[in-house]
Symmetry: C2
Subunit: 649 residues, 2 copies
């Protein structure tokens, strides 16, 4: 694809995508009916909403010890989720609730545009005093995203005006001009938000500010050293010990690997991709590809999760993939999906969307319960009673099962998965002039403008349970356009037909392109072969040697104790065993499960000795039929063991 096409390439927005049935319709229903109200209730209960009006009334809503400096971001993400939901499912009561929150936010804005609940209420002198650790710019980013989404959803620009004033205040404060502070956020996020704000308002200062934040990051003399000295602290007292934690150890353009806190990293990288696209910056494109390849070819789990360590909530080193203690924060998987979508628009190639889809269907969706009101922070690949990937105190007293919970002290993940589910339409299509890309397959209708004429594509499928997808074309009169259908990386065999006539096409950069003049009633049938696959890990991943994972279509599978009994480490799936997929209507409203014959090794000598010499031990292998369920659904039934990687023989 040439640069000209790339430059015009843009996502189709969720407002163009109607989802009325199928996999995502049900997830969005639960999100609307359960998740969004549940999060609102928590925002209210915890004082996060009262804090906004508290700024003006000087009322601290809760005991000081629980008021935290990242509170505002939770409101911002909830408003964003609400906005996406209102875009596709108008709801006057919900809008009224959101409008009241917006009014409270507006009431908290300072004369100069500054907007924050924590510092005015609890620590006025702290304003902008510690960009490294305090979260003012992170909060600003999420509020800006919420404001842009709310404007787009409702046409009501009040919140956007508030956040534009705050963005102006930030722009007046930070930058390389004389008299400005040369700071940048310790927790990136605002970069991508400022690009959204620029796109919505057309105000180039916001794009310039985003670019400044990226380019100033990690420059010497180091801003975080300077501000620490200003606070009377030593840089050596930095709790995280290294600026790698916040990707500020070196100027960004000199980075060669993804590192540090994984959510910080992926938000930053998504912002870099946005700025690269908007400023046509070849160096940032090179950097984006480099970081993407490092992360996805050396540091990503099979479920699309990233950041193995709870110590830094982030990256460790290449091929380091502990399973039980895999941190893999829900927010990091979501941020990776965001970044993948942006990479596609910067460098059109299906490989970015392959990772985006992997992260969405597996390590992001696992972050929320099937019921919609409980959440994971960490998304491990093996679960064992008594092990907690969040790294809390290990002692038998607290050795319960790791489970989803309704809320966290730092509840960044719940509203994040909520906004992703509500906006899945944003990730489904892209358009570049007369070319329409289909990224995600699910039941929906998309309305497009091709060369000034209306096109409706109706997509019908049971994906991800089935690889058969059909498209019905609706146009008023014949219309030439290119339909680019994604052939996922997991698919080695597909059949394609237009109006029943088989098409023999090869995928290029992950897409087959049907270029023709389309007429009303034209149909496309795509059949993606979706056998059960055994996934083998890279041999450098020491933690999975000799083990396989099961995947079918975009879904990774896992074995749970409730289906397969305990001691899953002793289960082996022989190489020659046939694996079958079947749709189980009784499970979670209908999901495909994988079954096959497995071996379970057991000692039959009755000894309780921990260690015995081979010559003294009898081992018996028994056969049983295992059942694997989609990974994202684990921990929704009885507590017990879970394994993604299973020994093979």
């Amino acid at each position: 694809m040439d640069a000209k096409v790339a430059a015009r390439l843009a996502p189709v927005t969720l407002r163009q995508v109607a989802i009325r049935d199928g996999f995502w319709a049900e997830r969005q229903r639960v999100n609307r009916e359960i998740t969004i109200p549940a999060i609102y209730q928590k925002l209210e209960e915890t004082g996060r909403l009262a804090a906004w009006s508290g700024v003006r009334t000087h009322e601290i809503p809760r005991e000081r010890s629980v008021v935290h400096m990242f509170w505002d971001s939770d409101t911002g993400k909830w408003l964003e989720a609400v906005a996406y939901s209102l875009s596709t499912h108008p709801d006057a009561a919900l809008k009224a609730q959101a409008d009241a929150v917006i009014a409270a936010i507006e009431s908290a804005q300072q004369e100069d545009g500054y907007l924050n609940t924590y510092f005015p209420l609890l620590e006025p002198a702290g304003r902008w005093a510690n960009l490294r650790d305090w979260h003012e710019l992170y909060n600003a980013g999420h509020l800006i995203e919420g404001a842009v989404a709310y404007m787009q959803a409702t046409g009501d620009g009040k919140l956007l005006e508030v956040l534009s004033r705050f963005a102006d205040c930030i722009d007046d404060t930070f930058g390389s001009d004389d008299g400005k502070l040369r700071g940048y956020p310790g927790h990136p996020e605002i970069e991508l938000a400022l690009v959204k704000l620029y796109r919505e308002t057309g105000e180039k200062r916001y794009l310039k500010l985003a670019k400044y934040f990226i380019d100033e990051r990690g420059q010497a003399p180091h801003y975080y050293d300077w501000e620490a000295t200003e606070r009377g602290e030593s840089r050596d007292d930095y709790w995280a010990k290294t600026y790698r934690y916040c990707q500020a150890h070196a100027p960004v353009r000199e980075h060669t690997e993804a590192n540090g806190h994984s959510v910080r990293a992926c938000y930053l990288y998504a912002g870099i991709a946005d700025v690269a696209l908007e400023t046509d910056d070849a160096e940032l494109l090179r950097l984006s590809r480099l970081l993407w390849d490092d992360l996805t070819q050396q540091q990503m789990y099979v479920h699309g999760g990233v950041g193995p360590s709870h110590h830094n909530e982030g990256f460790t080193f290449a091929y380091d993939m502990p399973n039980e203690t895999a941190y893999c924060e829900t927010c990091a998987a979501i941020a990776l999906a965001f970044w993948g979508q942006r990479m596609f628009h910067l460098d059109p190639d299906g490989r970015y969307i392959d990772i985006m889809e992997r992260a969405i269907y597996n390590s992001s969706l696992s972050g929320i319960s099937h019921s919609g009101d409980e959440f994971f922070y960490a998304n491990p690949l093996t679960a064992y009673p008594g092990v907690n990937p969040q790294g809390r105190w290990h002692d038998t007293l607290e050795a319960g099962q790791y489970r989803r919970v309704p809320w966290f002290f730092c509840p960044c993940c719940p509203p994040n998965i909520s906004r992703l589910i509500a906006s899945i339409g944003d990730y489904s299509y892209s358009q570049a002039g007369e070319r329409v890309y289909v990224h995600l397959y699910h039941d929906n209708s998309v309305t497009l403008d091709v060369a000034g004429r209306a096109l409706e594509l109706k997509q019908s499928t049971q994906y991800p349970w089935n690889g058969a997808i059909s498209f019905a074309v609706q146009v008023d009169e014949p219309l030439p356009f290119e339909l680019a259908l994604r052939i996922p990386d997991w698919c080695y065999d597909f059949q394609l037909a237009v109006n029943g006539e088989a098409q023999s096409l090869l995928a290029e950069k992950g897409y087959v392109v049907l270029a023709r003049e389309w007429a009303a009633g034209d149909s496309v049938e795509l059949k993606l072969s979706m056998p059960v696959e055994r996934v083998l890990p890279h041999p450098n991943i020491r933690q999975t040697a000799g083990q396989i994972a099961l995947q079918r279509g975009p879904l990774l599978y896992c074995l749970e104790e409730t289906d397969n009994g305990p001691q899953l480490a002793n289960v082996q799936i022989p190489a020659e065993v046939k694996l079958e997929a079947a749709f189980d209507t009784a499970l979670f409203g209908g999901v495909s499960v994988i079954t096959g014959e497995a071996l379970r090794s057991e000692r039959s000598d009755g000894s309780s000795a921990l260690y015995r010499h081979r010559s003294q031990v009898n081992i018996a292998d028994s056969r049983f039929t295992f059942r694997a369920i989609p990974y994202y659904l684990w921990a929704n039934r009885e507590p017990g063991e879970m394994r993604v990687w299973v020994r093979s023989c």
Copy 2:
């Protein structure tokens, strides 16, 4: 064995055991020439020695932030190691050095007998104010052990007088009598030390105090709650969250499993066994067996290490044995060996000595470098560059190789392994009247008193490299006694001869007993069959499923990258492969190595993809000859991977 014999059963002391050649002679030489001087230098450099005289002169030896409340224990353990060394290898210069330290200690003693450097110097009001966290009684225990050893080694009772006065002060302060504090140590150790002091001095109050500390532990109302309130703190602020950490969650006699901080646990359990023996307490015997069985049958690593978690430096739950992050503190293995020896005297059975030997030769000895001047705190079973079992910050910046170091901020392990090596003679024999138990096989001569007559047994062997052991009996005139020779749990075949005449005897409770009238020049030949064994883990240990360890005699083996190349997780030792042992004179002054044919699995498709479907991958198995070395010697050559558990097929 009946109770009468058990009651008379006692260890033979190291002063009776002359070690002039072989495995332990060399370890003791390095200990004398390198380790003991190196530790002295660190005690001096860090201000630990100056602190003793500082109490009287009110001079704080270092900046306050590095002075710590456990300092005194390091001096105590060093003096103990010195005493053991002087017992067998008199050294006037070393004794003079120790005497100067003892004089400084004496100068620090308060009027009422209280002895401590930290509190008089830095926090006078802190005396006895926080038994839960502060280490006054733990320090006292180690100083008492040092004093008893020094008295026994040199006949110089000055330090013993000082510590007896401190013990009297402690006895005046704590107890169930009216007017005394009902406290007990947060870090057990003093219990076993008080029994040593009782045995040396004959003063029954010390035994009674040891018993009080054991029985008061965990009683309600809880002393640590009370003292927290006295300090103006809430019990809920306890950093460790649970009194299980210090084995004070319930009265000791109600405990059903080993838990909490593993060094605290094993010192406590050793003290319980001592008190059980001295007070003939059947309930404490029952408890000791219960805790021993739980720990050694559900919570012990194959190298005898205990306490898998760095979070609490201790236990987690049954069968939880992570390998890379195995904490297995050197001190915990040593404490387990101490406890095992005491269990044998309480309940004469070789199974306790089997564990003692396992812990000494593997997870204790691994704590010190072959050169004698570097130490491990944690003793993991798998090493991989970038992984640190001490649980420090995980980021590529600090992702070095885990290696032994010369010293620690909390250097409990260095003098502990030093005192164990110096006192190996204490663990080699026991005697009960006319029965002589041989527990450990190594080159030495032991001098015994049997029914008032002198007996010398000269033991010659290349153990642990070889299972052939010969004994030469020296008596002035014929002497009846029973020679009880331990048949280790790892040995399934042995040959025994007296004066060349084969003996057909079965082992009972781990020992074969040769009962006869012995004459000068009688000889015994014991040949323990010592093939290379494949060790299989209990199937409940999920982390080692499908893997084997290699053991020969008492030694556990490991593969290091320097011998076997990287990616050891991809190495498999097939079940049918013959494993050979050979003595390599070029390695570490001569050690047995294990070799055999192994498979290495490698992807041959050239793909850099992290995850590939089985159908898309080519895997090639290549054969090579692996070399395994004794585990205790790992990390003495080039940095790199190490594995104890290797995949089998």
